[in-house]
Assembly symmetry: D2
Homo-oligomer: 268 residues x 4
């Protein structure tokens, strides 16, 4: 009787082919966060029941760019950096479930397959994109992390630019923003293989960092532009009122989450 | 009460953001197939129970390169070809289930996110790769589809070459090979969000083309090389004995499959 | 005394590292051509003396997408297609020199380095871009080459879309258009390594196909859109009046050109 | 009489399309340098006359990975980072000319077109490649710049890995190595457009940084592997004896060079 191994596909006799290793997953990264208010109805329409809008500031959105190096517990991917480095941009809103406030990623683009696979596990609705963000540097023309420093960030998919921002730092900040600061409430959905068969997987899950360390956040202002494109709706989260923009370097460990609800129908 | 729409993530109020449209999915493509025999034990180790090795020729493998244009029923993706064209390479073996012979894809690489998402639905264990295959052309140095024509095909992932083949056509053939000619028997697996929680989705599914048209297949010979790489095991399916190589242009419609077994544990 | 070899850099003892082989260069490809009239002043401003606007129809522009397989005389690159396949989009205008009408490429984007290098030799002002065009196919949803067939073509650079077209074929045509039908008159310029030193290379060269074969051209209509982007001026060639659109498959050999004028200042 | 503008192609009425701005060019970057000795004959064969091998240690090679953010004097590219960020890997040897020791880049791969164009100006023999190097980070699993820190670096081109290194830092160092520490002596070559016409441009140029700032270099050890590939000869510079490995963050300005010799034949 054969068993196949591996946290993810493709599963093999050894498990060595798995697109991603089992958690814990370790991350070093730079976060550039732009917070603003959109029409709360545009947030609410992205929250399927039983999720409800956050009670306070229900139109708040964070658009976050992140430049990551990530690895398994062994850390070996760091030494073959094509297998550890990736970039992403994602839109986060807040919602309420069971009397608690959650963050929720409603759009996200990454540039590596292992990041797509981790998103499937965690309920992030990932697509591939092309992402860039200015990196701080101690020498030459790139910015230091200091007052007046400017960072650009861009997002494209299918050869069209979807978003671009320029963030100007003002001063150290006690926080890195508030929209992306709660545990994440995500759905994991997969359609039935049978036409008209509904969902084969229908879960509401919660997860957050198993551990976290971070540097001094900085706050500033952002110029943010969102662009329309076929098959994309990020621009529906239009900017009504800027809140602020943040820069922070962080280290994170993710080590699994918790099932909140499952409406999966179970064994055939 | 809010409902979100879309066949796949991200789900929104309109459904327009879905990474893939609902089936049927329509394909035009060129297939370059290299068939050979490997150690049958290397095939068997990739077949979890209840799958069993095919009774005849259990070590047969097909390594297939495909150059696709694909679209939804509307066909509109064809006019924005970055959203319809993709390439793939995949290894197929045969297996037996319920007294019937199935094909099964054990490794596959594609170069677009929508192809990754369709694979999740269909149970193809997709990773991203970089794929190339010579295309026939009526003029200039590229080959016609004729005796002596030579086609190259290559596969790389994470900046390493995993496979390369040169196929030389010999003559028209009654078939396009036999390994990839059965309905597919695939697993759809997703781990539980909870550590140690086993599988949240564990299905064995069957699918095949809802309709098919194809040109004259050609048969010939292949020089095939497989290379080792970290995190990849295609090279375990080492070439023991060549069978043949095939070229064919096809049109395919895929419109869902059938659940064979589910061991998903169901609602929490 | 050491000599290094190779048609292009990097030059080595063997010459095997050269980014491109010496001509002749052989090409198989599909051309999608959109012809239109822009403000003739926008063409004239791209023609440095001694070039003058074409006497007839001086505002005519061709925007051409091409999907190529190319190789040296040995043809070996065709079997490692990552080294032979590339796509390009380019804008062509006409001009007059020495009483003769020439075509001239004023903007061009390709997606491989060997194509950039060939452009440096030939005087094409190449940048990198991301290019896609619908390919005809005998089966499935992709178009046949026939009346009513529709082909999409797109161009992006630096994560922004610069142009997109949809071409609908109407009928066979005696020509593949007229704007890109003359010998090319191109400049080869390289600045002096010394600041303020002017041009180290300043040549006007002529070249064209050493041999050519082609299939039946088809003519039809195009919807063409051009988009503004930083560092790009394709959109200055705005569409005033459509002329026509063409599809043709061709085989071409390029084998060097002719120096028309050199203003290079020569040995130091 | 029309004049076209721009430091580089494509030249237009405004100059805004130029693939690169005029110098000075400003850079912030991280350098990972692996120095070793190869067979001095393999260096000598890459030095065309009048260049001669360096008198001391003529087989010394530096293989350098660099992760750059670069811009014109205006700095505006930094805010659209797809237009400022690039990575490169390059092999440097030393040579002697006019009684002086020079560094000379003999192979180089970059991942952006503007970097290719700057290389044409500066005489770097650039190809496109895929490059990755571990970045230091203050948090999480990525390394700090400290004793024992490990950095990976990889180079691929045409879907094949050409080189990979793992560098382990040991201690602060007074230098960042010695092979890449001299002014660069490069050739700028372009073949005649006419077959058999020899070189249209044949210059020996010298250049170096117009200004430089840098952090504390660190020295350590490297595991370096070079791989063979068609059309590539980096692996001829085989490792005979390791010298050392270095990590340093730098800021550089490049502002033109000096013509040492020209054998360009001049006006037609």
């Amino acid at each position: 009787m054969t068993t196949v191994r591996g946290f993810f596909h493709p599963k093999t006799a050894t498990g060595a082919s798995s697109l991603i290793p089992p958690p814990p997953w370790h991350y070093s990264g730079d976060l550039l966060t732009v917070e603003y208010r959109t029409d709360p109805a545009r947030v609410r329409e992205l929250l399927p029941e039983p999720l409800e809008p956050a009670e306070e500031d229900p139109g708040a959105v964070a658009l976050v760019w992140a430049d990551w190096q990530s690895c398994s517990g062994s850390g070996r991917e760091l030494l073959d950096p094509v297998r550890s480095q990736y970039k992403e941009a994602f839109a986060v809103v807040r919602c309420s479930y069971g009397g608690r406030t959650y963050s929720r990623c409603v759009h996200i683009w990454v540039d590596k397959d292992f990041a797509v696979a981790r998103g499937l596990h965690q309920g992030y609705p990932k697509k591939l994109g092309s992402l860039h963000q200015t990196r701080p540097h101690p020498f030459g023309p790139a910015p230091r992390i200091e007052a007046g420093a400017r960072f650009g960030a861009t997002l494209a998919a299918s050869d069209r630019r979807l978003a671009q921002a320029v963030v100007t730092l003002r001063e150290p900040s006690p926080t890195n923003g508030f929209v992306n600061g709660h545990p994440m409430a995500h759905h994991r959905w997969l359609p039935s293989i049978e036409k008209g068969g509904g969902l084969a997987l229908d879960e509401l899950v919660e997860s957050g960092a198993a551990s976290f360390e971070g540097g001094q956040p900085w706050v500033g202002d952002a110029d943010l532009e969102l662009f329309e494109a076929p098959g994309e709706e990020l621009s529906r989260l239009e900017v009504r009122e800027p809140i602020g923009a943040y820069y922070r370097q962080v280290g994170v460990v993710w080590d699994g989450g918790r099932l909140l609800e499952s409406h999966t129908s179970g064994a055939a």
